[in-house]
């Protein structure tokens, strides 16, 4: 259990968020549009022993699911991307606002399903990437808060001769539950 002054600081945060992901790949934009809805879940923990408790680590799960159309035949395709991010953030405590910023390491799993007329039925794979994010928490109370965040990701997937840039900018907002383990 941590304390800031006399106030108890609950070191764990569990957040759920939703947002939009703007992938920078041009083919993605052509097939799926400029952005896709993304859902996030994250557990973060403020480390008690580094830089006067201004460091937080987080494990985030991101899920993106979208339907698109092949560029010529306009048949429907499905894309699902699951993304695990291990992040390290520096926190600036400004009373109820806590601003954070920091890098992360991403492990991305993707699957794209095609119509029966396509030469293959689906593509599955995974790739490592990195990300950098910044945002802030706003604490409504000692147990409940909000979170907004902007995250830039970089990841290059390669399937045969096809290269897909899975990087882009994600914007998310959600609720944060604070607790102590």
């Amino acid at each position: 259990m941590l304390y800031a002054g006399n106030e108890e600081i609950k070191s764990s945060r569990l957040s759920v968020a939703g947002g939009a992901y703007f992938m920078q790949d041009e083919v993605f934009k052509e097939v799926y549009g400029d952005s896709a809805w993304v859902f996030y879940g994250e557990y973060s923990y403020r480390l008690p022993f580094l830089l006067n408790r201004h460091i937080e680590i987080g494990v985030e799960y991101r899920f993106l699911s979208d339907k698109g159309k092949l560029t010529v035949t306009k048949e429907e395709v499905d894309l699902a991307i699951s993304d695990f991010t291990l992040s390290l953030r520096y926190l600036f405590d400004l009373k109820r606002f806590i601003i954070f910023i920091g890098p992360g390491l991403d492990y991305i799993i993707y699957k794209e399903k095609y119509p029966p007329t396509f030469p293959v039925s689906s593509t599955k794979g995974s790739v490592l990437g990195f990300s950098f994010q910044g945002g802030c928490y706003y604490d409504f109370s000692s147990s409940l808060g909000a979170k907004v965040c902007v995250k830039y990701s970089h990841a290059q997937a390669e399937e045969g001769s096809v290269k897909a840039d899975l990087g882009g900018i994600g914007i998310k907002a959600g609720l944060v539950f604070r607790f102590n383990l």
Binding site: Y32, G68, T71, V72, T73, Y110, E112, F118, P119
Partner: protein
């Protein structure tokens, strides 16, 4: 035969001597042909035996090929028919290679190419002539689209169980059900049914009615056998919209069988004005509009004479008669506008050319001596057929010689005073246009009888075992434009206006879609892509009631391999998963509500 021998033989022909002496006195024109038999390597077998001829493009390469029906070749059994493939500068006999040598004892007389399965190539119906060797059955061969054939005779039901002495044949949609039926003469097992007296009528099965599914029903449809038949012609003689049959007979009088519209026939020769004289030994009846009045007249040949009958409001009246050349009893005569003066001239197979005076009267017309010699020196001339084998727009002539080498005469007229019309697909959906009628009018006067410049009806085998090229040929004046009315066998009409001479017009019951293009594209997903070819086209505004389009890949020559079909609202199709470095050819056809498929449009994607 030596050249000296040829000359000696000519001098034995008094008619020819008379011709040379008198020709300047009554000639109103001249023709120039060149004997190109040797140059094109189309003389036939050294043991001879040729009877019938078909000009047809079997491999869809745009050039007329030549099929020779051989029989009774110096006692040679199993004599093969010849399929000369036209390679532009030379012909090559590929009958055996392509599966239509039809080498059965004792050979072939009648045979006709027609699109029996409506897949836009010419299939073959070939007879076998019984000569005391069994079995002697007729054969049907299916073209795979590239000019290679498969014997589908087993598709006839009930199976053939008697030998037949078949001579002339006919192919047409006799019952109007949308496919080509077959008729053959002399369906009896007599080796030499040449009695001089008519036989008591025999109701023998002599039709193979097409069931539309690749099978045929062997049946009797009202044409009794009453004596030996030579040539058979099938045209709409009474102009009532169905195909009638005329038979040239030996013992009984030659006659006409009228179709009731459902493919059942009754004899009507006498009521139509044909003579009832017996034992004349007619060999062929050839129908054509000899006086440009829009109906079919005819000539009957045999018994050393050619009688010409004019159609006078449905009744035929003999108005001219000519002797055949020399000792030749006369087997076949054909009509074509050889001099491009706007009327049909007459050629007696192995004899003379006669020019039409425009009223249907025929006058000997001079021919350069070498070509005339080639014609007259045929030893036992049988059939002859007309086709533009060199694609220069005029009618060339091939002559079958039973006891000598065949002859190919190239028409050397060098002008643009012609129009050819080819029916790419007709009301059956098949190619060839058998039964299609065409009226050519002076431009701006469509339908006005006074401006009719020619009437043609496309037919299969006619006269004595002849099949001309499956296109209508008109001789015209180059200074005018012309309007064309086309009537398909089901009565549907099309009009093409302002046709400029010197070109081959292609038409169809259902026209090809227009503006067909093929474009390579990459069909992308995020993690995978395929190369596709996007075919786009526009509906042809002259088509009606189109329900769908069919897409084909063209692998070799013009063989159509079905790919898919799309509804009429879709004017785009994607060929999936293609190779980026392969050239492709595709075809698209329109299909109407009655499932009749039109002529294809083609596109090559480099």
């Amino acid at each position: 035969m030596s050249r000296q021998g040829c000359c000696l033989r000519i001098l034995k022909k008094p008619a020819l001597i008379l011709t040379f002496v008198l020709s300047p006195l009554f000639l109103s024109g001249s023709l120039h042909f060149t004997n190109v038999t040797q140059k094109n390597n189309v003389g036939g077998y050294s043991y001879f035996g040729a009877h019938g001829i078909c000009w047809v493009d079997v491999n869809n390469d745009g050039k007329l090929d030549l099929y020779i029906k051989n029989q009774d070749a110096k006692g040679v059994l199993n004599v093969e028919n010849i399929l000369y493939i036209n390679y532009g500068s030379i012909f090559s006999d590929e009958a055996f290679l392509r599966g239509v040598s039809d080498a059965y004892p004792t050979g072939t007389h009648g045979g006709v190419f027609a699109d029996l399965d409506n897949d836009k190539d010419f299939d073959l119906f070939s007879t076998t002539t019984y000569g005391n060797i069994s079995p002697s059955y007729n054969h049907i061969y299916e073209n795979d689209g590239t000019g290679y054939f498969q014997d589908i005779t087993d598709n006839i039901s009930p199976s053939q169980d008697i030998d037949t002495f078949s001579r002339g044949v006919a192919a047409a949609d006799f019952d109007g059900d949308g496919d080509i039926d077959l008729y053959f003469s002399n369906p009896l097992s007599e080796a030499k049914p040449f009695s001089t007296q008519p036989s008591p009528p025999k109701q023998l099965k002599n039709f193979y009615m097409n069931n539309g599914d690749g099978t045929f029903t062997w049946t009797y449809r009202g044409i009794e056998w009453i004596g030996f038949v030579q040539g058979v012609s099938a045209v709409d003689i009474d102009q009532d919209g169905d195909i009638d049959i005329a038979e040239a007979k030996w013992a009984p009088p030659s006659t006409i069988y009228l179709n009731d519209g459902n493919g059942y026939f009754h004899k009507a020769g006498g009521s139509l004005g044909l003579p009832l004289t017996i034992n004349v030994k007619d060999n062929g009846m050839s129908f054509a509009d000899l006086d440009n009045d829009g109906d079919l007249d005819f000539a009957v040949i045999g018994g050393h004479r050619i009688d010409i009958y004019k159609n006078n409001e449905g009744i035929f009246q003999k108005y001219n008669s000519m002797s055949t050349v020399g000792s030749n009893s006369g087997f076949h005569c054909c009509f074509g506008d050889f001099d491009h003066d706007g009327d049909l001239d007459l050629y007696e197979s192995g004899g003379y050319f006669y020019q039409n005076d425009g009223q249907g009267n025929f006058i000997y017309v001079s021919l350069n001596v070498s070509a005339l010699m080639a014609s007259l020196n045929t030893v036992d001339p049988r059939s002859s057929a007309l086709g533009d084998f060199d694609g220069d727009g005029d009618l060339d002539v091939y002559i079958a010689d039973r006891r000598g080498y065949n002859v190919l005469l190239r028409n050397d007229i060098d002008d643009s005073n012609w129009i050819q019309v080819e029916v790419l697909s007709d009301q059956t959906g098949g190619t060839g246009g058998i039964g299609t009628k065409l009226w050519l009018y002076e431009g701006g006067h469509l339908g006005e009888s006074g401006f009719l410049k020619g009437f043609r009806e496309i037919t299969g085998e006619y006269g004595y075992l002849a099949q001309d090229m499956p296109a209508a040929h008109f001789g015209v004046s180059q200074s005018s434009a012309y309007d064309l009315k086309i009537e398909f066998l089901n009565g549907e009409q099309r009009v093409i206006n302002s046709i400029v001479p010197g070109q081959k017009i292609q038409t169809a019951y259902i026209l090809p879609p227009i503006n067909l293009t093929g474009e390579r594209k990459v069909n992308r997903a995020l993690f995978y892509y395929e190369n596709v070819i996007q075919l786009t086209w526009n509906a042809n505004p002259d088509n009606e009631n189109i329900s769908k389009y069919r897409i084909y890949r063209v692998e070799q020559w013009r063989k159509l391999d079905y790919v898919d079909e799309v509804s009429a609202e879709n004017l785009v199709y994607h060929i999936r998963n293609t190779s980026s470095n392969t050239q492709y050819i595709f075809a698209v056809t329109a299909v109407d509500n009655n499932n009749i498929e039109g002529a294809p449009a083609y596109v090559t994607v480099e």
